[in-house]
Symmetry: none
Subunit: 251 residues, 2 copies
């Protein structure tokens, strides 16, 4: 039993153009070609087509699929390589989605934010205000809380932004390295962070900080920012802050 291009295209849900293409690049040859030049496919070709489509679903290129379907080939290695590729692609995609969410949150409040803007220093108070505007709007709208009335000290803000980034990076490193959330390394980091904040006019106690970290978990804007730095960081920091507060309260 032989099938015409139309029949194959309907059986396998591909277009005739695709069959032409696979013929041209030698990936799927018809069993025979009639005198009039009509392509005729047999059962074996249909099965091969299924395999081609299967690997195509896995995002292999047609060239790779040709190799995969060849004989005497290390399929395991090719599949493993593809697995690695897809995992890195997924990682990137996740970062991208997190960044999108942060941008979306900023755009909703009328600002434009790119990640670079987020932590770079600014030259003037106006610039800082502008950068913080999105965040303020977000807080005000969702939580009835307004930060905007306080005056902004430019160098101080830059310094604080830098310190915040340093702290976040340090905490992310601890998390990646498997340090306990209630361990000494993280406690040290938090202690330094709180000391810095206190030295810069924020009367923040361990309990306040723990509450703030817990609040960040539920707030898309802040959670996205932390998760963009390192997957899991928002959760780690919350638990670490609570452990720190508990520790400093009882001692």
């Amino acid at each position: 039993m032989l099938y015409t291009v139309k029949e194959v295209s309907e059986l396998a849900h591909v277009t005739i153009k695709t069959l032409h293409h696979y013929h041209k690049i030698g990936l799927l040859l018809p069993r025979e070609v009639s005198e009039a030049g009509y392509r005729m496919y047999g059962q074996w070709e249909l099965e091969r087509l299924q395999e081609i489509l299967f690997y195509k679903e896995l995002d292999f290129s047609l060239e790779q699929i040709g190799e995969l379907l060849a004989e005497n080939v290390d399929r395991t290695a090719i599949l493993a390589e593809q697995h690695r590729l897809m995992q890195s692609r997924q990682k990137r995609l996740t970062q991208l989605i997190i960044t999108l969410e942060a941008s979306l949150a900023a755009a909703k409040n009328g600002g434009t934010m790119n990640q670079a803007d987020m932590f770079k220093g600014f030259g003037s108070e106006a610039e800082w205000r502008e950068a913080l505007e999105a965040q303020n709007q977000h807080l005000k709208e969702n939580y009835g809380y307004d930060l905007a009335e306080q005056p902004i000290d430019v160098p101080k803000m830059n310094e604080q932004a830098a310190e915040a980034v340093r702290f976040m990076k340090g905490a992310a490193a601890c998390l990646r390295e498997g340090r306990r959330h209630d361990g000494p390394e993280v406690a040290q980091l938090i202690a330094e962070h709180l000391a810095f904040l206190q030295a810069h006019g924020h009367a923040i106690q361990p309990d306040d900080y723990a509450a703030q970290s817990r609040f960040f978990l539920g707030d898309d804007f802040h959670r996205s920012m932390l998760e963009a730095q390192q997957v899991g960081l928002a959760y780690y920091l919350c638990l670490a802050a609570e452990a720190y507060a508990a520790g400093s309260g009882s001692n």
Copy 2:
């Protein structure tokens, strides 16, 4: 101060070809073009280029970027649309990785292309379910080998181990994908996990599970196991379990 293509390409880490291209399609016009036809860019153009590159990172097409950078445009809607697109892409990618793992497992065990037969007629949900099944099978076997030396009920342990691994992978995916720890996806996972445990003779309540997750944080063995699966998972799960217990307790 004007910059040549070479200078811009080095400042912004793009190729000169890219600048030519953006000029041709009208996305980034030089501030001026010299008599000899040299493209010269100013500060404003550099900033616009940064924005272009930022949106390019978010996988927007150049055409979309042009629209995004136009005035009087609903950036929020475009970003939201892109967010939806990326999430569906991520969903597909996750399925794809799972299928790849199953294929890889089959290939390692000497199964050649009959593995592909398993997923033949792809596109239907039933096939993807089959893919997941194969994946579970593989994990069960591997975990079974590890535990085989201990005097335990191997088939039963295998089944439970497989379920545990599946749960862990699901939770890790949620974490990576930025799902809230108190969101519906994770709650669903935990509910299923607890239902499975209860059906297998463990009288475990949401509160017990939350306590257990909290205990895992302090236990190096369990914490390492979770963190090996995905950085931050132990902390995420603990907070998710507590949120779940709080939710199921109050309702």
